[in-house]
Amino acid sequence: MADLFEILIGKEGEKDYKKKPVIVQGITGKFGSFHTQQMIAYGTNIVAGVTPGKGGQQFENVPIYETVKEAVVATGAKISIIFVPAKFFRDAAIEALEAGIKLLIAIPEHVPVRDAMTILELAKNKDAIMIGPNTPGIIVPGIIKIGIMPATPFKPGRIAVLSRSGTLMYEVSHNLSVANFGQSVSLGIGGDPINGTTVIEAFDMIRKLDIDGVVVVGEIGGDAEELLAQHIIDTKFDKPVVAYIAGRAAPKEKRMGHAGAIIYGTYGSAESKVSMYAKANVPVAKRPAEVPMLLAGKLGGKKG
């Protein structure tokens, strides 16, 4: 399988090490254009935009192309971030994968499950990674930001953060940063039922990094946390892992904002997740501010 960090950061000695080129699909939309500016300001190497009908124009000195294919040929980029509305996501994603994109950051919310599954299958065939849909993106603090997250909560460091929720990823990362736990990476899984990269897959991507610990921000719905807990046990992961789960007070069978945040029976309930985490020796914070305290306890005073 493609290696996330090789695509995202590269290897030392490469000409574009830590400066990997990124394409923005939907660069001229309100949302896409705003976040393109924000990403450029952070230092992300945005090399091309794609908006059908606006090829040949520029936005913030970034050339716009008609198709992803043209953008890829012109720039050699392997990363694309998609901002198009959910209805158009499937076609945009197919276009990107067919053009040779290897890392797809899928921002749109409300993508139908069937479309996400279709794209996922294509991504697998093309040996590409999809993060999202409905993700805030991914940030390696101080190096690259591909997403819609604000820059301020994040600080370079040695804790990996995986989150099923956007704003909670900011909230928890902020709390970590304030407590001097910087992040080596913060990655948004996405709040949808079907994730291009699951919590376990993301966990396996970050576990080999030189990190001190992992924070997993989850929520009710599905069984990602339960499976992760079992995975931590099975693979004998021995670095500290701390979790947070949102939605303990949520009623059953009500979709709590995120398409994926829904409890059926006991499937997806917070109790089920907390008890599995307990077996894996993963403490679960009651509130975001408690995350750094639990982490400090696990690390025995060692700071990230």
Binding site: T118, M149, A246, P288
Partner: protein, 370 residues
Amino acid sequence: MRLLEYQAKSLFAEYGIRIPKGVTSTNIEQGRKDAKVIGFPFVIKAQMAVGGRGKAGAIQKCHNADEFELKYPEIMQKVVKGEKTKAILLEQMQEYKKELYLSMFLNRSKRCYTVIASSEGGVEIESVKNQVIREVGLGHVDKNTAEEVAKSIGLKDNSIEEFVNLVQKLSKLTIEKEAELAEINPVAILNDGTLLALDGKVIIDDNAMFRHDELRKFQEVSELEERAEKSGFSLVELEGNIAVVGNGAGLVMSSLDMLSDHGGKPACFLDVGGGATTETVYDALTLISKMKKVKGILVNLYGGIVKTTTVATAFIKAYEDKIIDIPVFARMSGAEADKSKEMLKDSRTKMFDTVEEAINAAVIGVNKSG
């Protein structure tokens, strides 16, 4: 979107899945006419989007007109796990040999559809042992797989072919209607070996509704939820008296949890989406003002990029326009927080640095006002 039983069954019928003869009504006058059409005895079934109806007495047999006059209004008034009866289905009673379980289910962690079947039907699937589960990708079930499942749950003779047909019809429905779950529980094996769907549960992918105008007629949202959807918010109405507002589903859920931990009672879950502008917050306050039970509002916004002053402006404007007159307990992280506090100094919106402080103040403030 979770369909009611009679709605799910109308989809079943559309796909050629056999269902018992039934009629749906929402008042007893219509019910009496329906009773004549079906003929005694029949089953009176409350239509509500929740499991466990049988145990709760929301499904009852009815043998004659006297019983009908008693039971129809009783079942119409039923509330099960907070869900009210939306309509009443009168359904012909069936004689059968055995009950099975069958569903097409979107398995999120495996990221594929699964066929789940069992020789034990009529109980909640969590408690069913002997489940036969087969992964079927995007939902297509070929004949061999269906036949193998039929044999695995012990079917024999003509029931095998019946079951293969049933699975394939259910699979087609799941794919074409973009269902996350299509469940028949129980499937009845009649005395002649043919199969009949006695109950139905179908959940449609809300995000795919833009491709399914034909299903709009089943969509039932409260007026407030509809307004929320138009503004791009998600709203879940709850029982308490403190409205909970924030940007991002996770953050709002988190606020809801902490409020409950502190003894507060959430009146709603309102996610205004990732951003937070003067307009969105003003719209959210307008929406909340329509909920009479709300005595206070807890706001938890993670700004970051957004200036908190733009949000503060919304509160001031909402008071000026007399949209709201109840206290707001707000936590807004982001730029210019000090300036926002200054702006809100003389208003009924109190700003706090942490959500914990805002929650404490909200619980105390709302309890005091009764």
